[in-house]
Amino acid sequence: MKTNNLIRWSAALGVSVTLLQAQATNEVELIKRQLRQSQEAFEKAVEQHRQVINGLFRRLEAVQASQGGVVTAAPPATARLSGTSPAVSGAAAAGKSPWSASQPITLARSGPAYMNISFGALVNAGWSTASDPSAQLNLGDHDPIQRGFLLRNAEIAFDGAVDPYFKGAANIVFKLDKDQGTGVELEEVFLQSTSLPANLQLKGGQFYAAFGRQNPQHPHAWGFVDQPLVLNRAFGPDGLRNIGGQLSWLAPTPFYSELFLGVFNGQSGQAFSFRNPGEPDAAGVDRFHGRMTTHRELRGPGDLLFVPRAASSFELTDQQTLVLGASAAFGPNDTGPGRRTQIYGADAYWKWKPARAHGGFPFVSWQTEALYRRFEAGEDLPAVMPLPAETLRDYGFYSQVMWGFKPRWIAGLRGEYVTGSTGAFDAMDIFRGDRSRVSPNLTWLISEFSKVRLQYNHDHGQYFGIAHSVWVQLEFSLGAHGAHPF
């Protein structure tokens, strides 16, 4: 009888094997490979769990023995192996069987990594009526600075969890100068806490100060090819970026509110309006806003650069979000003893995205920032043209609307205006004087990882009149890039 059964089963098996053989051989190979991988991963996981279970069981025994109790359950030493359809057997096992499907058995997962590594490049090409756009028109470090082709931002980004207490990130930027030389910048390197109590968070290292909306963003996240004029005026070609620390606090309000306080060295061209030596003149003397600068070491905490910020966000409707912020930056500058700079800024960002958005489209966003800078310039009487101590007041704004009118297509329009009080040195200072700019652009996201942008700039400046420029920007990114904030 038993033999009969055995024969029947073997026959049945044989039939199924024949059926299997009828399938395409490449599929068989594929399935075999996947099965082998899955089995290896499965067995490894099972073995790990068996060890954990046995360990726990020994502990249970020890504790119960010390309490004089009796061991009641047998150790669930074996895991039930799943058949050809793991989903079904997994579901069946979710009930009472010793092996719970909810145990972390990961089958054939690929590419686990300790960090995101990505590379992104922005390649520009274009033409301007100004023969040297870098002289007055485009003063940002990542802006198109010459006619023809340029590559001003190729960026390697790393980010990930350092340990249970910190996240770490680094951005290293390469750029080609006009003479094809490669410039390298350690743009950002910072550590961010993840487990401080009381909704606090610490950030330390070299990083963009949380001032306004665009300053902390990397160029690939910008809506336009170039840096807004008002940010260029207040924070210089590189934006406000320095070594220091930042404490932030998520306030217990029903809506999102966060307070930030950044403290930085406030030194170098990355703290443009602060302890910045400026650029050397023809005689090799460092000057900023015409004044000879004097490098001073820190005399006390008051010489540091402080950057406070408050930001709030409101859900106007289910499909509209508003973010409002107010920022400031206070610190000394190098144009004379006791000279200080104050910058104040307000920013707003509004976005509409419908409930049935596909791939993030359509959407409309509006972003505006306004800044005011009060710069106490020191006197420079030995200069060829003697300059008095005076307070320079600059202000300006930009406002931009981006409209993702169909999947992968974004139309943008930006208007800007910057101006300032008249100062003794204005006639030669490219970072002062009235300027306005209107920039329509069109962006096509070829995929999630590449895009092309076409932008026209209509520039009007007190010192150069009217200029027209057209720029094309191509962006691509490789690898895994950390998620961007809203």
Partner: protein, 311 residues
């Protein structure tokens, strides 16, 4: 001593009322959390049911929700990769730390389909962990419900019996329904369906249908006219009668194909509430999916409603 006891007695009702604050990344996970948690949990969902779950905006209001949550329920298959990480950094909630009790990774125990052997974006935007839409197989919902129940028990030991009972109830309901759904779609085994995006392999695997024709030439790459022409030709040759369209997708290309092939465009969703009449939860969503698919395949409405008992 006596006053302390009285105090504790007075406090008891409040303690008992303290619900677990749960945030689910997507509405399907949210629906399962509600099934298991019942009135012991308060579930908030981040992605909307009609929204493309790959592209959810990391709104600051989500940071606040995550900051105040006791548990985060996530898919764990990179579906949320574009938006969840920056929210969690902002939320600074140690309860939701990776590996912690409040971080519920639902993919534990799931057998992933379409795990790429090599990572190559020339093939489009593929997920390294495998296809993340695993809840489109109802059998996987049981695994996920089990994961959630286990996590809830760890977080609220006092209500564990309730969670277990809810899990048992849900699982047995699902078993009954799944048998009905399988029976309802059995006559159409081997039939082909055209979908916009390759998000249905688990559904196809479970119900024995083929969903291997897509309006997208590659994942994340929009349909081109040449690709549509090829799709239309293949559909005609293979007599494909049904086109799946998710609520966030543009129906136009699907309708063009439908006009040229005589196929039916079927509004389907991954998430409860994504199409009308599925707001009731996961089981209702599948009732809707299976029943409307059976009708589209050519079964009559009467047959469909006869087999699938209305909720």
């Amino acid at each position: 001593m006596k006053s302390l006891f009285t105090f504790l007695l007075c406090l008891a009702p409040f303690l008992a009322e303290a619900k677990l604050k749960v945030v689910a990344t997507t509405p399907d996970l949210g629906a399962l959390a509600r099934e298991i948690g019942g009135d012991k949990v308060e579930v908030t969902t981040l992605a909307r049911p009609t929204e493309d779950p790959h592209f959810v905006d990391a709104k600051p209001s989500f940071i606040v929700k995550l900051n105040r949550a006791d548990a985060l329920i996530e898919g764990g298959a990179e579906l949320e990769a574009g938006w969840l990480a920056s929210l969690l950094t902002g939320a600074r909630n140690p309860k939701l730390d990776a590996g912690g009790p409040g971080r519920v990774v639902c993919s534990r125990g799931i057998h992933f389909l379409d795990v790429p052997a090599t990572l190559d974006r020339a093939k489009g935007d593929i997920h390294a962990a495998g296809n993340p839409h695993y809840l489109l197989d109802p059998a996987n919902a049981k695994i996920v419900a089990g994961n959630i129940a286990e996590a809830f028990c760890a977080l609220d030991d006092g209500s564990c019996e309730i969670f277990r009972a809810n899990l048992k109830k849900f699982s047995s309901q699902l078993d009954v329904r799944l048998a009905e759904w399988l029976k309802l779609l059995a006559p159409f085994a081997g039939q082909r369906i055209l979908a916009y995006h390759d998000s249905w392999p688990y559904f196809a695997h479970r119900f024995g249908v083929k969903i291997d024709l897509f309006l997208e030439p590659k994942p994340g790459i929009p349909p081109s006219p040449a690709h549509l022409a090829e799709v239309i030709a293949r559909m005609k040759a293979e007599k494909v009668r049904v086109i799946f369209v998710e609520p966030y997708l543009n129906r136009r290309s699907a309708e063009t194909v439908a006009r040229n092939t005589g196929a039916t465009v079927l509004d389907v969703a991954h998430f409860p509430g994504g199409v009308k009449g599925t707001e009731g939860g996961y089981l209702q969503l599948f009732d809707h999916l299976v029943r409307s698919l059976a009708v589209a395949f050519g079964g009559t409405t009467a047959a469909a409603s006869q087999v699938v008992s209305p909720r």
